[in-house]
């Protein structure tokens, strides 16, 4: 499967289509806990979170990562993805509205393929950065 979008003209500085997501609710966290298999109570059990010094439950870092993944696979088919990394710089809280964006930072040839590197970020509705990441995609076979 090759990208069904024209990637020949992709250039440094281009932004890929962003992704906005609805506010994180406690239901979002409950469903993500069940679906992801990460049952760490810090994300769903207020008593546990408070006992460990947090004011409230908070989102799994990998929920924001999954949103970044959605943005990438909305842009290109998943087999274009060579690598994908993320650093969790701040906790995402209940009621945060996360927006994902990605920008091309490099085009290069590797393993006989045209590839591009992207810089990724997740910010909330107040412009606070929650996750920074990077990805490498193959543009052409």
């Amino acid at each position: 499967m090759r990208p069904d979008v024209d990637t020949t003209s992709v250039k440094v500085g281009d932004e890929i289509p962003p992704l906005s997501t609805p506010p994180i609710s406690r239901l979002t966290l409950a469903l993500y806990a069940g679906a992801s298999g990460d049952h760490n109570p810090i994300h769903v059990d207020l008593d546990f979170a408070r006992y460990h010094g947090m004011d409230d439950v908070f989102a799994h870092g990998m929920l924001a990562s999954a949103y970044l993944g959605r943005m990438l696979t909305n842009w290109l088919p998943q087999d274009a993805l060579v690598s994908f990394g993320m650093r969790f710089v701040a906790i995402s809280h209940v009621h945060d509205e996360l927006s994902c964006s990605g920008k091309i930072t490099e085009r290069f040839e590797e393993a006989g393929e045209q590839r591009a590197r992207l810089e990724l970020s997740v910010v909330n509705q107040h412009g606070e950065t929650k996750v920074v990441g990077d990805a490498v995609v193959r543009l052409e076979p």
């Binding site: 679906a35 298999g37 990460d38 870092g61 993944g69 690598s83 990394g85």
Partner: protein, 151 residues
């Protein structure tokens, strides 16, 4: 302080069957709208063997082992103090529903910052796809960094 002699510690290897229903549940939980991740017919029409495993779900499949917090228990880490610091994936192929995947993890680094107020544990996981042939197929490599907060 976490005993640095755990660097090199290998976790029990485990194998997971990728279930289509679980992939749909995950897709719904993350608000996925791309039909390729929700509808097997759409997935096949796009050329996939079945529903593809989305990019971050390999991390979740690795948590399907008997106790996903096993290495934290072994290293004496209290779960309530743990934050996810970083996560990285390198992909060699895409897994699909029906695949059986084997996860082989090692602790590859343990270090601290801020005079021990924060400790870091790095775990690297090789993921293989069973093919029925002798040689397992390398599917992906994961690297996970957790942070242990001390007050």
């Amino acid at each position: 302080m976490i005993d640095p002699s755990f660097i090199g510690f290998r976790l029990p290897v485990h194998t997971q069957l990728v279930e289509a229903g679980r992939l749909r549940f995950f897709a719904q939980a993350i608000g996925e709208t791309n039909p390729v991740y929700l509808d097997e017919d759409a997935a096949r029409a796009a050329g996939w063997r079945s529903l593809p495993v989305p990019p971050t779900f390999l991390f979740c499949l690795d948590m399907e082992r008997d106790n996903p917090y096993d290495y934290m228990d072994t290293l004496g880490i209290e779960l309530g103090k743990v934050l996810h610091g970083e996560q990285h994936f390198s992909y060699h192929q895409v897994a699909c529903a029906g695949d059986r995947l084997t996860f082989d993890s090692r602790i590859t680094d343990i270090y601290q910052k801020k005079a021990g107020a924060m400790e870091f544990v790095v775990r690297e996981t090789a993921v293989f796809r069973e093919t029925g042939k002798q040689e397992p197929n390398r599917l992906a490599d994961l690297r996970s960094i957790i942070i242990i907060r001390h007050r």
